[in-house]
Amino acid sequence: MTLSLGIFYLVAAFTVWAAAVVVLGRNIVRAAVALIFSFCGVAALYVLLDAEFLAAVQVLIYVGGITILLLFAIMLTTRISSATARVINDQVVLSAIAAAGLLGGLIYATNRGIAALVAPPNFPETTPFLGRALLTTYALPFEAVSILLLAGMVGAIILARKE
């Protein structure tokens, strides 16, 4: 049991606990706060995988953007915190089967190992490598994502415009 393995177990347990609170919690604002913790846990897992740029971007985008968006949506919805608001829908059995299937698939894949997902040891700084890859090898997906972003922004402006 090395130190990094122990830290991994701690961080993973924290992330899973936070995710459980998100899914099973009664109070929706507390679920949103637990979502923040689970995103931070995922960022810590990225750091353990030597992807430091991804960890910082995870915190910046997910916690600093998406969680705030979620909290705005919750706060602007009327009576969302009332006692009669339903937090869990009716398809519990179906979703339990789907989640168990996904878990089985993930365990099988982890035990078999996928060679392409193992990072080489002593990987140099990821940030310049990522930047160069995004602008040379993966320039087309990069541009496609920026078009998607443009479509999202135009849609938001049209929806929010006063008629």
């Binding site: 604002v29 600093g64 705005f72």
Partner: protein, 361 residues
Amino acid sequence: MITFAKLVEQFYALTAAWGLPWLVPTLVVMTVVVGVVVAYIAVASMFMIWWERKISAHIQVRFGPMRVGGWHGWAQSIADGIKLLLKEDIIPARADKVVFVLAPMVVFAAALASYVTIPWAPGLIVRDLNIGLLYMVSISSLVVVGIIMAGWSSNNKYATLGAMRSAAQAVSYEVPLVLSILGPVMIAGTMSMGRLVEAQGGTWFGFLPRWFVFPQAVAFLVYFICALAECNRLPFDIPEAESELVAGFHVEYSGMRFAIFFLAEYANMFVVAAIATTLFLGGWRGPWIPIPGLPPEVAHGLFGLVWFQLKCYFLIFVMMWLRWTLNRLRVDQLMDFAWKVLLPIAFANLIVTGLVLTLWR
């Protein structure tokens, strides 16, 4: 200072000689470093609060604190701190207790975590992360989340309004902020705070230091304005608008919880000034002379420390000066300014910097 790293090495060697596992000196060093940083934040915040009262007083042609402690009321902040500690801790009856208690902790933790990559002196950084700047920007977005939590859990309309305005303002001003800091990052080629300071060495024409404020003056102005907005300082004071929303998002907090918000705001001000100093004003760079009796690295380190503090507190003085001089912007004026003025200027700066770097390198 090179001797700091040597001290840590000697401590590790000492504990290894005593037979302790390497985890022990690591934890001890980390605890000591965190303790020093928290102590610095506490003392610096108390000083800044006193200083703010003195600056506001002199701008308003009065004196400010004059009695507590004798000379110009320097102990006023200590008296304030003791008062806040002794106040009754009130949690509103229908507030969401868990989130209410957690919110000041999140805000303070985010403010504290940004101190990891501040370059105090040559060789004196807690951890020189190679994504240092990006790390500081992402941690500062946690402050916004804490503010929303505080406003919502207070079960108070004014607090919720203040929290939502603060979130909208902070998220809007984050975009030109990140774009403006990309200019110096492009010139230096690194996001590490230590290496950004090292990239600003030397002089032009023998006397003008190669600080990034000279080629990137526009970026410096954009960054400074966005930093004011991120700290919820006037003229972007809507979240704490004292005459409109009572106190905004922290209206229901009393005693030590309010003190934590207060401390976190001033700690954030210092972090923002530290980033501006590192990126644009040359960090710890400044003229230095060797002190007889000390090794030259230690003298360089001491002078660097002093220069860094002087530059940071100069920027903080400008922030406080602006607060007591300018009017508060209305919410729609605020958002207009961010999206229609600062964002295009930041983009233009990015484009021009990129062009110049590609054509003249």
